[in-house]
């Protein structure tokens, strides 16, 4: 018979206040198989662990139970301690008497009885636990980064610099993301393009980075260390290997497409490069807008292209790749102005959003950096900025704070003043949130030096009156309603996840939160990992964030990938499902219930087998299997039965 030791933790007063820990230890001593029991104030402390190690040896224990907090917190701590003292780690079990007992009860007597019961149940499991060995899994040391904004670029560069191969997949024809659209960046006002383009060029040239732009993920299968990815390279109808970027085709193209990059303030041809510093600097033809594709006539671009790079016959290509880790960095977009009915629903021409204003401020933008309003090109003299447009409005739009708009609005007002010296700007805000390094100072400087008028209150209505755009708001600080007949209104629209992210996460089988942003494994302690192993997240795809935070997070995600790749192989938890070949009748019910695609039908043997690397040990198949062929290691039917019996006997 196994000699089991039980260690009951006080967790300071977290457990001991509600549960009589001494009595739990005394009662445990009476249980079958238990040869030693002891309580201690902090089991996880070094002396607590030393006690465990010492007693394993002294008392000749074959297995131990730590009655303490949730196994997600300290299971690995105590398994390591057990291993150090010569036990197989799977001979260490945790009885959760904190989250599942002391924290949720107030009646000390009942809570103590329940804690004894929990320990009794785990004793039954432990008696039948087998010693297990972790399952080694190989790793393909190549990463996939999805999204080529600053997050994806930074992560790809960090991984590539440490010697591993990276595939960087970007949906658009050029990498750069939103940062390429920005003028100058808060809080230091460095030119966005100037700090971004060196990184874009580095990513384009890096020997370890394979850049796949104008590409999307079709399918992902496999598991951590061994993913199979199918990537669609959309046909640009231009042979990029021939194209030298001369731009003749774009000059001649008669079609007109409004520029997404310039927030529809300008147009370009059906064949275009989104911006001059694009990487790669190769054009694509927008099929839906191309006159030839629509009517069968034109092909002007083909005529002018001397090297014959235009190819209307090109088709989408599919690439299969094996990678070991995947970083999702698909970024954000902003709530369309059209969604904001009270702000003109996109029908008032001089109501634009922050990104459009960035383009007006940008030296490479449609007005070469001069602030001119869209309706008639006039330089606005009175300009109103409206913060929280669609953010912090749980009733109608988004409940969360978009985090970056307080800062960029102040930046906008400041840059406006640098361009239009006699202009007056007003900012309507609910709160000013300037939580970053140097941000509060940036805001105060703008308020003092640039004469911006901050009005605390939200705007209720924006409408057109002649060539003016009238804003009705309030100044809660005087309690007075305010009217401003402005020349231009800029809305700081809510940051929302990129629309294509919803479809992508389904393919990746990772998760998003209620607002559609990517979910992290733990908001504090595992902020760049997805709950599914091998998936990492970075940048604004996880939630609104500015460039410094995005870059820090991208480097953190890269670091996680590098640490994964630095191992020879991965170790998979062996406490997973297995199939008794003699019992399995091949009904395949289990395949349909497995949420991790871990079960496959073996044609030859006529039975189902488990892909050990994919199995997460959820137990769905065990419950579904009618003939008892599928069992879970260390949670066998007989273990579960005796646990249930023990738990019922206790009541």
């Amino acid at each position: 018979m196994k000699r089991i030791g039980v260690f009951v933790c006080h967790c300071g007063i977290n457990i001991a206040e509600t549960v009589d820990v001494k009595r739990v230890a005394e009662e445990a001593m009476q249980m079958e198989g238990v040869t030693y029991a002891q309580d201690y104030i902090y089991m996880c402390s070094e002396p607590g662990q030393a006690l465990v190690r010492e007693k394993i040896k002294e008392e000749n224990l074959d297995a131990i139970i730590i009655a303490a907090c949730s196994p997600t917190l300290h299971e690995s701590t105590f398994r390591a301690a057990a291993e150090e003292a010569g036990l197989n780690p799977w001979q260490c079990e945790i009885a959760n008497i904190r989250e599942q007992c002391s924290w949720v009860h107030t009646d000390r007597e009942k809570a103590t009885r329940k804690a004894i019961n929990i320990v009794g149940t785990i004793v039954q499991k432990t008696r039948l636990n087998e010693s297990l060995e972790p399952i080694p899994v190989s790793i393909t040391k190549k990463a996939l980064v999805i999204g080529g904004g600053i997050a994806g670029i930074q992560a790809a560069l960090d991984i590539a610099d440490s010697g591993y191969k990276v595939i960087l997949v970007e949906k658009e024809s050029s990498i750069g993301g939103h940062m390429a659209q920005l003028s100058e960046t808060f809080p230091t006002l460095d030119c966005s393009q100037c700090i971004l383009t060196p990184k874009m060029v580095a990513a384009g040239k890096h020997p370890n980075i394979e850049l796949l732009t104008y590409s999307e993920i079709e399918e992902v299968s496999g598991y951590v260390g061994n993913f199979n990815v199918r990537i669609r390279r959309k046909a640009p109808f231009v042979d990029w290997s021939k194209c030298n970027g001369c731009g003749l085709c774009m000059e001649k193209c008669p079609a007109k497409v409004s520029s997404v990059f310039d927030r529809e303030l300008t147009t370009h041809g059906a064949i275009y490069v989104p911006f001059p510093q694009a990487v790669p600097n190769k054009p694509v033809i927008v099929k839906d807008s191309c006159i030839y594709f629509k009517t069968g006539k034109c092909r002007l671009c083909e005529k002018v292209c001397e090297i014959g790079a235009i190819n209307f016959e090109q088709e989408d290509q599919f690439i299969e790749e094996e990678v070991g880790a995947i970083i999702t960095a698909t970024g954000f977009e902003t709530l369309p102005v059209a969604d904001l009915a009270e702000y003109g629903a996109g029908d008032v021409p001089d109501v634009i959003d922050g990104l459009a204003f960035e383009r007006l401020l940008s030296a490479s933008g449609p007005t070469v950096g001069e602030v001119r309003r869209p309706s008639d090109g006039m330089v606005p003299k009175e300009i109103v900025f409206v913060q929280c447009a669609g953010s912090r409005d749980p009733e109608r739009y988004k409940p969360y704070c978009s985090k970056i708009c307080c800062m960029y609005t102040t930046k906008h007002a400041l840059l406006y003043k640098h361009r239009v010296h006699d202009g007056q700007s007003y900012i309507f805000y609910i709160d000013i949130r300037t939580g970053g390094k140097g941000y509060e100072e940036f805001y105060h400087n703008a308020e003092e030096e640039e004469g911006i008028i901050y009005l605390r209150g939200k705007v209720a209505k924006i409408f057109r009156d002649g060539d003016k755009t009238v804003v009705w708001g309030t100044d809660t600080l005087t309690g007075r309603n305010i009217e401003i007949a402005a020349d231009l209104v800029v809305l700081a629209t809510a940051v929302i996840p990129k629309d294509s992210t919803a479809e992508l996460v389904k393919k990746l089988r990772i998760h998003t939160g209620p607002n559609g942003f990517l979910s992290e494994a733990h908001p504090k302690l595992r902020p760049v990992e997805s709950i599914n192993s091998g998936f990492f997240i970075a940048g604004a795809a996880q939630g609104p964030r500015d460039i410094p935070e995005t870059v820090a997070q991208a480097s953190a995600a890269a670091c996680k990938v590098i640490s994964l790749f630095s191992r020879d192989h991965l170790e998979q938890d062996p406490a997973i499902a297995w199939v008794d070949e003699d019992l399995c009748g091949g009904c395949r019910i289990c395949i349909s219930v497995c949420p991790y695609d871990a079960r496959e039908y073996d044609e030859e043997k006529g039975i189902v087998i488990v892909n050990e690397a994919l199995c997460e040990g959820c137990g769905s198949c065990v419950a579904a299997c009618a003939c008892g062929a599928t069992q879970q290691r260390n949670l066998s039917d007989s273990q579960i039965k005796s646990m249930v019996t023990a738990s019922l006997r206790g009541e």
Partner: protein, 169 residues
Amino acid sequence: MIDLTKTNTGLWREITDNCGDIRKCFNCNTCVAGCPAAEGDPPLFIRNLVRKVLLGLEDELLEDETPWLCVTCSACEEMCPMGVHPFEVCLDIRRWQSKNDETYIPAATAEIFETGHTQAVGQVQEKRKAVGLEAVPPTIIKFPELLKIFQEMLRNTDIVRENDYMFRS
């Protein structure tokens, strides 16, 4: 409704002589929280005055008598985190009001003439006694001969001379 394109948003330049840079005010309201006159009737809300200056609400500010309620205790001066010097804002507004409108005679000037105070100290004598203070504060009001001299001095100022119907003690 205030039409901000029509107000004088440069007003702060005209008014603020001795105080700090009032554009720094971030409306924390500490100045009001520590101000004894904020408990008065009507109350003095110094932060609101700062706001009126910043938004350029000239007409309202000219009519506003609350700057005269400041008891010059300087509590706000000590506490303002942004160096606005709210107390000086009060005095700056008083000066600007008087300079801008010759006919403007705040009620407080009559009180000054009579008692040497902007506040009606006569009314608080009972309260002072109740908390163990002497009924009349130990300022000029306590010394009738000095108060007389003070009033003679005031008679030489334009405001008292030209409006003497208001200043008959």
